[in-house]
Amino acid sequence: MSAAELQRQQAFVQAILGAGGAGLASVPGLQPVARDAIDGRQGLQAYRANAKALAGAPSRPPIRACWL
């Protein structure tokens, strides 16, 4: 498995959790899907809005709360 991808994914999840004030800048290469329509903050908020149950989540997935 790729150590760089793992680092990126960990940073992404931490950014969504808002842990340590990491934020978008800590995620290597992260960019908005659409520069014109939504900025990165809105993209992040879109995930955060769906991540209320994330904080302290166990390693096993809670069910039925994600966008599909």
Partner: protein
Amino acid sequence: MHRSSQPGRAPVGIGWRQPHYAQLREQSPALAFLEVHSENFFAQGGAALQVLQGARADYPISLHGVGLSLGSAAGIDPWHLDQLAGLVERIEPMQVSDHASFARVPELHANDLLPVAFTRAGLGVMADNVQQVQERLRRPMLVENLSAYLGFADAELSEPEFFNALTLSTGCGLLLDVNNLVVNALNAGCDDAQAVRQSCDWIDAIRPGSVGEIHLAGHARLEHLVIDDHGSRVCPAVWQVYRHALQRFGRVPSLIEWDTDVPELSVLLDEVALAAECMAELQRPQEALA
């Protein structure tokens, strides 16, 4: 005989959600298959599993997961895979699928479908994970394209290139979510006509024969963002792209998904009829994966 094996029936099913468990069993509407979320049936017994096993006698079941985390560089959770393998053995589904996303990092499982980077390293991670799942389940699986709200600047592959490489290297199929294509295009600033065109171009870049199922759903249009919430009827733009997909890939099994504000069952059956109408317009034989 399963209802799906009746000759001439369009291969269209619905996502079977809890509000319709009883009604569907009572009415037994003509549907080609039912799709459920695998994780809701991981318990070793109980009412939900009993309901699913009952429905299995009347309908083929497609198991659609949201938690395998196929793109995770931390690998597949062995507990999760064990549960899925047990369910597959019990239900003998017509199809097993999950998403081209990640959720799992060490010590945490994000309760969402997070986008993967379309890099060669990201492709390698997902291919390894898909192989592991397929070897455990002893069957090929389908992997669904995502609606994503963020992406990565260092992408080395387009999304269709990523899926073409994944399906070729692992033997898995693509679960084509047409709504996700349109949502992504709208979020990229396209108007409806541009979103249709961009989505059709995406479809044209996918290798024929690699699509094993199609998902159809509604989305919510907010002021600055389109959310893939599966909470409304399929919109005209998505139907237009669906027709294009059928022309390219043939009569691929298709599913109406509705997960937010789930309406009466009759509304879902109306949508099924519309999808069947689209299929009836086709003359081409099926080119989908068996």
